[in-house]
């Protein structure tokens, strides 16, 4: 059976892709952000996961308002990164793992999660920026694992509750641990932390709330399910609702985790950037 090694979260700001392309690692603006990743790289080198579940939220590339799945799971041989409207160069396709995708879908629907399966899914910065951050040169890093993208709706309300996100993660973890292959799996939760792009409140960041989330997601994620969705918008900002991806990741790890590294920095673009690496108890 497969093993879940741990989970890694990161913000997935589009500007990061540009900073990577220009190698701004030591630039004074970017250094405090990129300094959060060497420990992640070392951990990945040591454990070499075979599969990566990339939990992200689409921002208007893979899905539009004509059909908006609350939870979508990729079930394709590969995932294409495409133009998001800014004409930036796209990365080469990321290799999929359709056998694992369908195993997850079977297991989760049996556990009463109604999934939208996607045999074609273009992936945006929410998916690719974390891949670039964790596996430099992605998708051409020699250690690049095969991937299953999972996208949750944070574009249009009603969005899932934090409780549902955590439950989703638990069912996902159960699915992964029953995959009949001696494989190592890492789970990514991307997006956040607090930020707001729209309205008169654009630029809103909430350090205190982010710290509360970072503290609790490690050892007491249940506490965070008390936060209502409207409270999440109020305290994390309209786009800070991406924290739902972190909750989904966290649910899949099980109760017992060890924090390996954490980074938090304000601001990158309009966002409070957070990174966290949690290892599952063996």
């Amino acid at each position: 059976m497969a093993t879940v090694l741990g989970g890694i979260t990161t913000s997935h700001i589009p500007a990061v892709g540009n900073a990577i392309q220009k190698e701004l690692y030591d630039d004074p603006y970017w250094k405090p952000f990129f300094d959060g990743y060497p420990k992640v790289h070392a951990w990945i080198k040591e454990h070499k996961p075979d599969y990566c579940i990339n939990i992200y939220n689409d921002h208007g590339l893979g899905f539009f308002l004509d059909r908006m799945p609350t939870f979508a799971i990729g079930a394709a041989h590969e995932y294409r990164n495409e133009d998001e409207g800014w004409g930036l160069p796209s990365l080469d396709p990321f290799p999929g793992a359709p056998e694992l995708s369908w195993h997850i879908i079977e297991s989760m629907v049996a556990d009463h999660f109604d999934i939208t399966s996607c045999q074609e899914l273009a992936v945006d910065h929410g998916f690719v920026v974390p891949m670039q951050l964790f596996w430099p040169g992605a998708p051409h890093n020699p250690d690049m694992p095969k991937t299953v993208p999972i996208s949750a709706n944070t574009v249009q309300h009603p969005i899932p509750t934090l409780a549902r996100a955590l439950e989703f993660g638990r069912a996902l973890g159960k699915a992964l641990r029953s995959f009949p292959e001696d494989a190592k799996i890492v789970i990514l939760g991307t997006g956040g932390l607090s930020h707001q792009l729209d309205g008169q409140r654009a630029g809103f960041i909430n350090k205190e709330f982010d710290q509360y989330c970072l503290e609790n997601i490690v050892s007491n994620p249940e506490e965070l399910t008390k936060v209502t969705r409207m409270e999440l918008v109020e305290k994390a900002g309209a786009q800070g609702t991406e924290f739902l991806m972190w909750m989904m990741m966290r649910g899949a790890l099980g109760d017992d985790v060890t924090e390996i590294t954490r980074n938090y920095h304000i601001p990158i673009s309009n966002t409070a950037a957070g990174t966290l690496l949690l290892e599952c108890a063996a």
């Binding site: 589009p14 500007a15 921002h59 208007g60 590339l61 539009f64 308002l65 004509d66 495409e82 133009d83 998001e84 409207g85 800014w86 004409g87 574009v155 249009q156 309300h157 009603p158 707001q196 792009l197 729209d198 309205g199 008169q200 409140r201 654009a202 630029g203 809103f204 960041i205 909430n206 350090k207 409207m230 918008v233 109020e234 309209a238 786009q239 920095h265 304000i266 601001p267 673009s269 309009n270 409070a272």
Partner: protein, 118 residues
């Protein structure tokens, strides 16, 4: 579309909850912006803004908001920031430019505001 009798939301000053009501109101505007994912549609818009907005069936309020480059108005008209970001790209506006425009700050002032929250 109106949903009388029940309020799903709380009031958060300076924040529009993009829900079913807004999503229906802004559908044409958001669809036009979503289609800007393709370069040929960006070129089509740039070549003939009025004709392009007409083709997607934008209403007068949405058209005027675009003519005025008025982001807050676009949101009021049902625009969602993730789709509007593609339009902002055509206007060569960065995320911080857009932040400044919505909050009455210069881009530099907006960046300073972001930093002040560290």
């Amino acid at each position: 579309m109106d949903q009388p009798g029940y309020d799903y939301h709380i009031d958060i000053p300076g924040t529009t909850i993009f829900d079913g009501k807004q999503a229906m109101k802004g559908y044409a505007l958001n669809k036009m912006c979503y289609d800007f994912n393709r370069a040929e549609n960006r070129e089509g818009f740039k070549a003939d803004e009025e004709g392009w907005m007409e083709k997607y069936g934008l209403n007068e309020g949405q058209k005027q908001a675009i003519r005025d480059r008025d982001i807050l108005k676009m949101i009021e008209e049902g625009g969602n920031i993730y789709y509007l970001a593609k339009l902002a790209g055509i206007f060569k506006l960065s995320v911080q430019d857009v932040g400044g425009l919505q909050t009455g700050r210069t881009t530099e002032e907006f960046q300073d505001y972001l930093k002040s929250q560290a």
